[in-house]
Symmetry: C2
Subunit: 332 residues, 2 copies
Amino acid sequence: MKPLRIFFAASILAMSSSAAAMATDLLPSWQDGATKNSIISFVDKVTKIGGPDFIEPADRVAVFDNDGTLWSEQPIYFQLAFALDRVKALAPKHPEWKDTQPFKAVLENDTKALIKSGKRGLMELMMASHVGMSTDQFAEIVDAWISSAMHPKTGKLYSEMVFQPMIELLGYLRENGFMTYIVSGGGIEFMRPWTYRVYGVPPEQVIGSSVKVKYEMKDGNPVLTRLPEINFIDDKAGKPVGIHYHIGKRPVMAFGNSDGDFEMLEWTTSASGARFGLLVHHDDAKREYAYDRKSHIGQLDRGLDEAPKRGWSITSMKSDWKCIYKYQCQAK
Amino acid sequence: MKPLRIFFAASILAMSSSAAAMATDLLPSWQDGATKNSIISFVDKVTKIGGPDFIEPADRVAVFDNDGTLWSEQPIYFQLAFALDRVKALAPKHPEWKDTQPFKAVLENDTKALIKSGKRGLMELMMASHVGMSTDQFAEIVDAWISSAMHPKTGKLYSEMVFQPMIELLGYLRENGFMTYIVSGGGIEFMRPWTYRVYGVPPEQVIGSSVKVKYEMKDGNPVLTRLPEINFIDDKAGKPVGIHYHIGKRPVMAFGNSDGDFEMLEWTTSASGARFGLLVHHDDAKREYAYDRKSHIGQLDRGLDEAPKRGWSITSMKSDWKCIYKYQCQAK
């Protein structure tokens, strides 16, 4: 094939993609209005070849928090629900847990005692339920849980409680040449088994907290064993660090919902050139949950104060989104 | 544009790419023979749609060691040459170095004393020369060095001492839908500033050893400061761990040259399905260097013994490569 003909064929494809984008609204679950317009005009600006704000596809990095940004995080972080289920499943092998906190609290569904065990208690639960197996075994356990466990309020699979407007946004950005990374305080290995299926984000674009793993031989085969030792906490000031280790580029767009995402948005939007920051505000008690400044989960306080002066967009789940969960949007 | 027309345009492109591959030898610096054939037949096999060994593009991960695999590593690792140059450049600000080992040895070009300082001495040099600045500043320092420093034997830029056959291999694999990752014992931030330019490998596909970095405000702007503390050593059994953290997928092909790459090849090739491992053997004293079992740098001992029974290919630089460095190949 001659170069000219390749060019011609490529042009047809390029035109078709751009024409399709103009004809089709790729963000149908977003209400028409300021927030949606700000996203579209930003993307138009940085993808306009020859424009003053053009950004090369190689540098189009968008980072998304997960808990509270791509899916719900109430009444408890979904990964904590996973940990509690795991503790219950493992209890028969640990008779001593009946009399030991914080395990006793879990087995007796004693929320007060569980809260009283504090961060240290939660860490004990995470370690007891998350380590000691190979990475492959852990992926299987997560996969089985995410395919069956139900949310206490909606009765839906946790993986169905993802925000349809954000799923559309991920796709819209990828359509415009962005790499879409997840940068979550949650466990990297808790997310990777299902993020591609649910969000279209492959494992290599998932960044999260991690435990140490060790390479060793088991029955003549190499395995990576998960150890009871924190490797990295991908939260708050850890998020820019995680981004740096994994991507090595400063993001162009950042999306979060809590003060745990503050530094990620700050790191992203204080770079030179066109930058975009957005916080999802949980203000929809009817369709999801309403919480911000005083919440123990997903607290959003400093972010609400500083977003306006930093030029960050605040998305109201109540007024900016036509529907919340995928199954609600499909029912419309 | 109608779907059928898009399909047609895409087909033209797909055909052109496949036709071009058949018509053009993408590995022209490789001698025709067993090694080259084994690479091509493996790639044909795993990319053949509907074939028994077909691997989805999303799972086509190829990992490459850097030192001794993609560029030379003699008479000393190039990053160590960088560290020594940095120590000399910083010496005026550290008068105490004149009387303190291992710095004294560096400033007096006393190789014997330098070797005598051992691993601990080297670590001191690395820390003194590699930390205390922001990640952006470090990238600038590396960029300036790699653009100007000359190799003592060839008088060429270090970035010109990359192996042309391996550059071709990287491109050939990418042409066949592979993601090409670097997985090096060298510093991740020492490589990232130039790997895209030199190897076509973007920062997010570079895995390496790292120091801890800290997010902090400097003059009202956030920076990541490099700290004098090891974060991760991406060597030996650390390589499968680094691959796991960064990619979260088990590679399909692995390329190395020393026993530091053994576990990476083992991890890759002991997975189920079609897998490929290759060791570059430095046996060309005339055009590059000859070393293996007894070398302090890039020791290849266990790998030479076990490669045959593990089905790993051994590439002889002398007989499998028509030329070594890019500038030699271009001169032909």
